[in-house]
Assembly symmetry: C2
Homo-oligomer: 783 residues x 2
């Protein structure tokens, strides 16, 4: 195939060009003109794959994909069947996206329904059909009146069912006890499943997905078992009432779907670079179903998790995100034809003076973000380094027990966190029965339903304020200990809950202040008596955005997700003000978001596109060998024996070796990967007669004629990368970092005046960056 | 400064590192440890700037910005004043964005108001205040009834005012004549202003902005004169009734604002790379006000125009786009607190069966896109190459006259195109008086206002269909000749109009089919008698998206812009189906969108990120010198005299010269820019005694001791780029193209085994790509 394309192009350009070597440059293509090769006419297995916990070479993956594409294109002219195959290949990207969207949407819907049912199972059961949640049970009942929608005879609390008592202290204690038991049961089941079947299913998964998308290999992290176990345990842990959310893990679940479907198409399964394009789109679909925000999902994938995001991927991600959103909507888990529980519509605009409390909420969000990241990382480090880490099951049980015991008495922590957020976001309508809407109505006033003026707070509101304050403190503390346990756990929802509680309290405060002090100069202009000037629900939303921003340091995607929840351009300014403030405040205490902090904690080799490298060091300061170290291990092009090479491989653990003309001249010819050297020598020894330990290894184009009795030479030009990346020793490190980031390199050779001086690997770059930032360079563990 | 930072870092890393040369690598920084330099202690003027119609070196610009940043950071520790200055510097990005948003929003509002008034001026004048448009005139009038909102005594047609006749043939002819006269007058004024004051103000500007953002320099293209003249002439040409829109030029206007404000801050004015970040954000603000779609604007900038778009820019672009949108909304040019004239809300969902006509509209859009691009490019090429191009004023006058003569009799072409689109998008409500809504009402039916069932078409609808068909043909033809004339002209609006007309006709057709054939199998399921099942306005919108997509090949940004117009996720699927179909159909006939085609026509050096290079050529095939050509012009590090260098500069026109150890060894040391060589030699001859024509030029670190009577040497290591980018001759061109794209290089040197072989410039890459795509490589004109 290779020759075919070459001959097609040559006639056109042959006049301009010197004769050139039609050899392949990258080892991935094995079908070129093979006159130099004795045995490598067909690729030997495993060439072009990577080892676990290693970094891929993006340029090489891209090059391999182009080769594959070229082959298919030229083949497609041969027959109708090949043409159809090439069409299918071109369409496979869209098919994968469609499948990901369908599966991710379905899983999200199933998880929502299951969580709904199991959360209610902690309190009681539906007699008419045990698989109904409380709400569904009473919907289907005919005896429900509009005023008391949650009470119906079919729904029985455990105390009613077991001891026929619905009120009283003993019933309360029984319900309390069963609530804790169910929670412990769910949590124990979850942590056991994770430990036994899929250890990678724990956590939110976003730090690892960021690392994987940046080109790291973690085998099994996106496997089928992880998908299955994560989906099941996610339902269990969310239902158990722990302070965690399903949004982050849903991104992981969607990426597992992406990985599964990409393994069905050789275009994606055989190319780690192309596979990552699919995973980026899957992450977008995950956020799309988590928040019901397809555009926000695409921007989240672009801003937060993806590394290599070509425009083609943008369009496909959008498609996957839309399909996922529509699939979820047709499942309709919330029964309101909305994608999320907390979709809201507000009826009143905001006023300029309100920017002050909004910015205050931003400051709160930033402080919470900093506090959370510091404490959580400290706790996770302690878990890693002390005996605590040895008892993950016990840890989960203890935290679940504490959570359940403290949560039950307070109505704002007893219910599921998403329901709490939904209630906090809601504007108080005329028919609202919530405690938060217990205002004192003016009996003389008759007004349309959705334009209720500000009213004085009733006793319910004051009770709610106290309960919210307690719930806020509890959430803040418990979330720090929950995130990072060996169960699936997202922190979007707990962060948003913290912000929403704080925001709602601030909102009610401002509202009451405005009601009781119409005459204050700041209220006089925008809050006449009888006007509806403060929407406490909006404060809750702004607070949620601020806290989420403080923890994750998302910006555009955060605002767009929130915008898609409210659906109006109107409230973008408050959200943006809070998000910007929160990011600035949090950044002042430390640049890392929670995901970066966890990546760092785990020592993954992640080269963040957002970090700016501003130090004044040069490539020569970073390359190895350092001054005083042994010289660089190199191969020569025509003077080493097979045994020499094998000894070098045995004695070092480098991932590859530069090949030079001779040890004296140090002029660089190419770069050979360790993995491929080993495979090639093994292959040659098995399949090629005459290759013995003292055969000379040739990396040159034409080995010289050897005396007849000398051992058969081993020609390895085929596995040589003839275009290794080089920089000069004077290149500033900021440029080197830029090159590593943008081209996705694994290593780069350093030369001076054409002589090879040393090598810089991605690990070296990351360690240098850590050192410059006064961090421990040894924390970067993988290459 | 340079030394300061170095000593700060050294103690920490000195143990690991070999002693290194603290020289600067990039010529931009001139304040390092200057012991080697005799005269270059202060930068000489113009160093680090570029010539007109040249390409910038992104890596170098980035490096210069990092240096600047480092200096400010270390200075900020010296005093409070420096600290405040560093804070101001950090905030200047946000200030620039705020200013751009405010000015772009204001200009857009002013343009909208002025266009409104001047368009109406062609028909008549308001007696109560001549600066009122027709609508404003009748709004302020007390005598207007609700039924007849456009008729009020204050608004007088020209015939009423001049000959006191409002009806009859002579009044019609007078109005017709004056309409044409006003149009000619506006168009003549516009083309004259453009020719005399700002030739760059013509066209849509988007092709040039794309090129500029990719790193090209066109002095004056974003200047203050261009801003002023483009704003004024834009109003004139849109009011003249020509088939063009203001949306594309608004992007140019916003970029001019961006350029103006970035020239106020040295951070942006002195760094071409940073300036382009501001321009990307300005483009987003431009689209934001053009369509009232801030998120769509950011995505447009990301997808369509930007080249280098770091995440920081994403967030700032979003801010600029929002500020612009809110500024425009507070000006409220359309009097409906919406950002655009064609904001719509639909009341009925769409049905799966409707996807078929939507996809048909997508096919139409793709065909229209192909037809338009081919014909328009052919016409523009003819204009460039024949005598036609010599009479731009005459051309504009003739096209305006033809447009006005044909447009006036047809009500759908007489009005402004945005009003036409707005009417076509609208759903027919109960109170709609438009001819398009002339349905036969069932007198027995009383129904809520916004849920009107499908009704049979009345005579008005049939007339409208004919007029729309004629208008469609006319628009298609005249737009081809209009776009590319020497006046500001956008084609978003004409494209959308073509699509909206086609879409509305298809929509009415489907509606009538469904009404009259309830019993057909496809209608039976979704269209019961008396139901409102087809919304012709939605078809118009889908058609508009399809046609716009066919011409510009936008994808995500197009769908998001349309989504922001309707505000509901509901209609994304039809829009997406049409956009995808239209892109596929159009791509089947040719990959280039209209902007890329115009870039190509003008020979700008634009390396598209979207093009994939899949040919199997190597760096050695592209580099110069080619086989048989004279060897590469190089400088040697220590053996050439000043005269030799001056001769080389005089005899060649290369933009830079590689510096090698000696002509024999061909080992590369660095790269010297022509511009800086000239400046340095001129400077040295003027300011440095003893530098004469036979002084030796040294690029080495330490020139050898010279005999006492030999001429004073010229040391030029400072202007030497010690980290030139190199690739080996075996590097596949796809990798080289990738490197050029991602790192934004100007040139790249080619080596083999450490020896310099040749050079590849951006122009070489582009010419090679053109050749591989069977295009004329000589069409790439700039470097």
């Amino acid at each position: 195939m290779g020759q075919k394309v070459t001959t097609q192009i040559l006639p056109r350009i042959v006049l301009l060009l010197p004769l050139r070597n039609p050899n392949m440059v990258n080892a991935g293509d094995m079908n070129g003109s093979g006159n130099l090769m004795d045995f490598l006419d067909e690729p030997f297995p495993d060439v072009g794959t990577y080892e676990d916990f290693h970094t891929i070479d993006w340029l090489r993956e891209k090059s391999r994909d182009t080769d594959r594409h070229r082959k298919i294109t030229s083949k497609s002219k041969e027959s109708i069947w090949e043409f159809i195959k090439s069409l299918l290949d071109a369409w496979s990207g869209w098919v994968v996206m469609l499948l990901i969207g369908l599966l991710a949407g379905t899983l999200a819907g199933v998880i929502d329904l299951a969580v709904d049912w199991m959360t209610d199972l902690k309190e009681g059961v539906c007699l008419s059909a045990f698989w109904y949640s409380h709400e569904q049970c009473c919907w289907t009942s005919n005896e429900t009146t509009f005023d008391d929608r949650d009470k119906c005879p079919q729904w029985q609390k455990w105390s009613e069912l077991l001891v026929s008592q619905s009120e009283g202290a003993s019933a309360y204690i029984l319900n309390y006890f069963l609530y804790i038991m169910w929670a412990l049961c769910f949590a124990f089941l979850a942590v056991s499943l994770v430990r036994v079947f899929a250890p990678y299913a724990c956590g939110s998964g976003i730090p690892e997905i960021k690392t994987i998308l940046s080109g790291f290999i973690i085998r099994g992290y996106l496997g089928k078992w992880t998908l299955l176990i994560k989906t099941v345990t996610l339902v269990l842990v969310v239902s158990s009432g722990l302070s965690l959310g399903k949004e982050g893990p849903l991104v992981h679940v969607a990426c597992c779907c992406g990985n599964f479907f990409s393994s069905l198409f050789s275009k994606y399964s055989k190319n780690e670079g192309k596979r990552r394009e699919v995973l980026s789109a899957a992450a977008a679909a995950g956020v799309s179903v988590a928040f019901g925000a397809p555009i926000g999902g695409v921007l989240f994938s672009l801003e937060e998790v993806s590394y290599y995001f070509p425009l083609k991927t943008l369009w496909r991600s959008f498609f996957a995100a839309l399909v996922a959103a529509f699939t979820l909507r047709s499942i309709n888990p919330f029964g309101n034809s909305r994608l999320v529980l907390f979709y809201v519509e507000y009826h009143t605009p905001w006023y300029m003076a309100e920017l002050f409390p909004f910015i205050l909420l931003g400051v709160f969000g930033g402080l919470w973000g900093t506090l959370f990241i510091r404490c959580n990382i400290a706790w996770c480090r302690r878990r890693k380094t002390t005996r605590l880490g040895k008892y993950p099951v016990l840890e989960v049980i203890v935290i679940t027990a504490i959570t359940a015991i403290i949560a039950y008495p307070n109505p704002y922590t007893r219910r599921s966190t998403s329901e709490l957020i939904s209630e906090l976001f809601n504007d108080c309508g005329a028919l609202e029965s919530s405690q938060l809407c217990d205002y004192i109505n003016d009996p003389n006033m008759t007004r349309p339903v959705d334009d209720i003026p500000d009213r004085p707070a009733g006793p319910g509101v004051y009770t709610a304020m106290w309960q919210l304050a307690l719930a806020l403190v509890f959430k803040i503390v418990i979330t720090i200990f929950t995130f990072g346990m060996k169960i699936p756990s997202g922190l979007f929802i707990p962060s948003m809950a913290v912000g929403a509680m704080a925001g709602r309290m601030v909102g009610i405060g401002v509202e009451q202040l405005a009601y009781h002090h119409h005459d204050w100069i700041i209220f006089r202009n925008w809050c006449r008596p009888g006007a509806d000037c403060v929407t406490p629900g909006l404060y809750a939303m702004v607070g949620a955005a601020a806290c989420l921003g403080g923890v994750t340091r998302m910006t555009v995607s955060l605002v767009v997700i929130m915008f898609e929840l409210t659906g109006g351009l109107e409230y973008i300014v408050p959200l943006m003000a809070a998000a910007v403030t929160s990011k600035w405040v949090a950044d002042a205490f430390g640049k890392e978001g929670i995901y970066e902090a966890h990546i760092h904690l785990n020592g993954y080799p992640f080269l963040d596109v957002k970090d700016e490298f501003t130090h004044r060091t040069l490539a020569t300061d970073v390359m190895r060998p350092r001054r005083g170290e042994a010289p660089l291990s190199v191969l020569t092009q025509d003077s080493m024996t097979v045994e020499d090479v094998e000894t070098l491989i045995k004695e070092t653990d480098y991932n590859g070796f530069p090949v030079v003309v001779s040890k004296d001249s140090e002029r660089l010819i190419g770069f050979a990967q360790r993995r491929e050297l080993i495979l090639a020598i093994k292959n040659a020894r098995q399949r090629q007669d005459g290759v013995v330990s003292n055969s000379i290894v040739y990396f040159t184009e034409d080995p010289p004629e050897l005396p007849p009795n000398s051992p058969h030479p081993l020609k390895l030009r085929r596995i040589l990368n003839l275009s290794p990346f080089t920089v000069t020793d004077h290149t500033p490190m900021e440029t080197v970092v830029d090159i590593f980031r943008k081209l996705g390199l694994r290593q780069c050779l350093v030369t001076r005046s054409g002589r090879l001086l040393g090598i810089i690997t991605k690990k070296d770059v990351l360690r240098h960056m850590a050192q410059m930032a006064n961090q421990d360079p040894e924390s970067i563990m993988f290459n």
